[in-house]
Symmetry: C3
Subunit: 406 residues, 3 copies
């Protein structure tokens, strides 16, 4: 029995070998190549306004942590188990100066210093010897960002021009509902499946149009003319379609570490900078969620979805299993690749060159970190300019002259 | 402390060693001795009429697969993950010629050939280089059968005389409700526990009679005179009881690969060939279900259960936990052996000689496959006759002259 | 990058090593050091009156077992899988002489002897060759106790003076609701986390008072003057507080193997022997429950909780998740240490010296067993006196003269 010949001739599933995921590329766990790369950046872990007076459990990059906000507005992020006897600080109490464990009352500052040990003589004469493991946090754009990496490699939290330059009456609105996942808040699959989908604009004409019916604007159903090119911090894709004789140029980007810079696919707001930025938070190897910050105005949010729709004319949450089978969207296509897709079974084609470019770029950053360097997009000088993206929906005269938005 | 002595003297559970299942005998997974034996046969995976226009997920022999039926009635069975980027074909669309992936629209024929790649130039100029892993399927007796083994060893799908020779007004009725499991459709235990129960007719007088009350006809409560003998494709058992002075001879069979050939235990239809055949589908190592095909007529189904009863006077689905504890049936006895029974802890006795004979027979087939041969019951010539079984309920005069059924 | 230096300087959670539980200390599984120690004692497995005519499944020390009570009141405890073909005796029938398997009717006495094999000739001529693995059981104080250890090391089931010497009108009331767990009947964490909490009286002033509000009597909110000393069978703690100028001396004990000897924390019944004894049953490595026996009288139970309260003014079962976060109790503090706490991450302080003393004592017993000896508290002579505890709530004049209870 010649298995290779048999398989080649017949294509039988009987000869499939054990499928494998490329964990060096997609794992988010500490100590893995990609997990260490991700730990060189700040990641959003919560919408700031959703953190109340109680300890707030978060899970990020495979780590369970407790976030808290003191009455004076300072955030702290600590290892969940009290360094004394291991009781979770989920049951702790947030006080003026930090968080206090319920069991024996040890009090910790946002940077883990032990401030009180009420069961010890004089409130703990040796309390300086104890420290609760902690991570730095920053609040920006209404989101709480954390840095889970080595302290001596901590970059600054970058600013993004699209969220810094506002028109009169605009403000920045944070969102933690996973806009763009196409489904629920927590998606049960590896984050990279979502992220590389951004560099896969071809699927818009199939999944979101021919297959499931029009899920965005009708013009998106056209198979676009697509190009990809590397950017300093990721990959940029340009998709050319036409709208009523004009050129509809749509530019989408992915940027380190997990950014999805995707202009509204319902294509409101032509010829302006992209209205929102999404961070794909890897919760762990098999779950992700998306935090978004975008410009909003009285006239309504500038970023999708318009009219409260997640996809098409029906909210994902309201669809039955059969409806999802009949009209799948991003959620189904990506979670349908499995908890972690089997990279060993893939067969990339020419339409996957954006995905391939993104993986090459990401692997290069992994190698940079492994070699002791700082990966793309890490900034160490607060005076550096805001990050600027090319992403946006552009409507242009065929000759290339911008067209005013109707 | 002499553990052996202590155990022998006292029988304490303290000295139990780690119990073990004989996975070489009962595993259904590809690559295991028994899993490879099972892969030399066709197995039913669905009732044909239950497969609609949507992709139909099935699980068989530990493999997740997608079954589909084209509008022209052709069945296809494929590996669930699209060979392109791994999205499950559960969200695919069944078309005239095959199944299309939702993500990038690749279209596959029932034998896995790639027919269209709409995101690639000209629909995929190199599409012949891609093939979706697949398995052959056949429809017969209202069931869909699949062959999950090596292509060069594929036997024909056998015909069974009991399902081929019909009286006027009879037809073949397929059933996927696991008739004979004594409970729900999917049983949470290894299939072999169910199968070898067929060669264990002694339990009928205990479990189904003395213990739980009469679950079949009252005459089955008699402890029968039992004999076993090997058949070319399995094991046959004859159980002799008496009914009103006549000889009630009941013949039951198991046949490769998973067949249960059990005449109606409510004993209607004496002196005719067995009215149905059941296939025990190993879903995976710890789950099975039963597909059945039997002769039916206007006067009612010829195979059990009569009057819609699964066992006794109460449907299993309607019984409480306490009722199941008080009146257990096959389901409780077999799932009660655990997900996979601990063969290392068994102590077979003389009443288990049918079980022992069946295991010897099955092990012999495993050895035949391991040695490169074709196991019992595999047929490679379509002209071969239908398989004939001796199974049935026979009512005979003491002298051995058949008695007409009243 | 110098990880040690970085960690020392910064306290970042990034440098946490993989946390570890000390399974040699806390595992309850057969074959582990602590599991073997626990197997040298009797453990309560059920409230006798809760065992009815049906087989009663229990789980203790990581072992699943079937308990049964014959019509004449004899208890049996057997390995769940019938030694014949492995069907669980959960579906068995309890008869005059033992338990009968549903499948083939084998009947076993409480000590595992096979009494009947109805499918075998003459009821099983060789039935004496078979034995169902079993453990000894005893009924006392309304509880069913079992011994899961080596038969040749079986001690007697001890008597406790606090449960043997009754006032007129008093009786012993058994309880299986896990009094003292602070929550539900089955707690999802290792038993040792609960047990060592008894030798941690400091937390009473924090968790049960300053943190969550007064959960016992107001006087317990005082940070006590605490001392610990080893007893022959465990550790004893004395906590001195004052009540209206009198000395409130509270003595609590832990005793081998799992006993919690804790006087009512609502402090009724001063100056009498402790009113109840609790046995912490290790269900498995990550679950425990508590059986209690205590003196009761017409005037109400002498052991806690009074007025049906588990903690504070609100029953745990009625609290919402947020309420438990705001007012945690023992349940939250102990299950909040995780399924098995990470001993590698602990930092014990001076207030943990009772916990440390208890662990040293317990480790010493583990070593004794490993060296072939009999651990503390195992008694082999029925004539030995009852075990006496010092535990109790004592109210005394400052000079040390006992004060009559008001």
């Amino acid at each position: 029995m010649n298995t290779n010949t048999s398989r080649n001739e017949n294509g039988s599933a009987y000869y499939l070998s054990q499928p494998q995921a490329d964990l060096d590329l997609v794992s988010v766990v500490r100590g893995t190549p990609s997990g260490e790369l991700l730990r060189r950046y700040w990641h959003p872990i919560a919408v700031a306004s959703e953190v109340g007076e109680l300890p707030f459990p978060v899970r990020a990059l495979g780590e369970d942590l407790i976030l808290f906000k003191t009455p004076r507005g300072e955030f702290g992020l600590v290892y969940p188990r009290c360094c004394h006897r291991g009781t979770t600080l989920y049951y702790g109490k947030v006080e003026e100066c930090g968080i206090r464990c319920c069991y024996h009352g040890w009090l910790f500052s946002p940077d883990g210093k032990c401030l009180d040990q009420p069961c010890e003589p004089n409130g703990g004469e040796k309390r300086d010897n104890y420290r609760q493991p902690w991570y730095p946090v920053r609040e920006r754009y209404g989101l709480v960002f954390a840095y889970l990496g080595p302290p001596d490699r901590m970059p600054i939290l970058p600013r993004y021009e699209a969220l810094e330059v506002l028109e009169p009456g605009e403000w920045i609105e944070p969102d933690g509902r996973s806009l763009g996942s196409g489904g629920d808040v927590i998606a049960p699959c590896n984050w990279f499946q979502h992220w590389e989908n951004i560099m896969d604009p071809y699927h818009v004409a199939i999944l979101h149009s021919a297959f499931s019916g029009i899920q965005f604007i009708p013009e998106m159903a056209q198979m676009p003319n697509v190009s990809f090119e590397p950017s300093p911090i990721g990959v940029t894709s340009t998709q050319i379609r036409s709208i009523e004789g004009k050129v509809f140029r749509r530019v989408t980007e992915v940027a380190m570490p997990t950014l999805r810079v995707v202009p509204n696919p319902w294509a409101t707001g032509f010829n302006r900078p992209v209205e929102s930025i999404g961070w794909t938070l890897p919760i762990d190897d098999t779950h992700y969620r998306i935090f978004t910050a975008g410009r909003a105005a009285e006239s309504g949010p500038l970023y999708y979805p318009p009219k409260g729709l997640m996809s098409g004319n029906r909210r994902w949450q309201d669809m039955t299993e059969e409806e999802r089978q009949r009209k799948p969207g991003d959620w189904e296509a990506q979670t349908g690749q499995g908890a972690i897709t089997f990279h060993s079974e893939e067969h990339l084609a020419s339409s996957d060159r954006g995905v391939a470019m993104l993986r090459r770029f990401f692997r290069k950053q992994i190698e940079t970190v492994a070699a002791g360097g700082n990966p793309a997009g890490t900034i160490f000088d607060e005076r550096d300019e805001s990050v600027r993206f090319a992403a946006g929906n552009y409507l242009e005269a065929p000759a290339g002259i911008p067209v005013l938005q109707s």
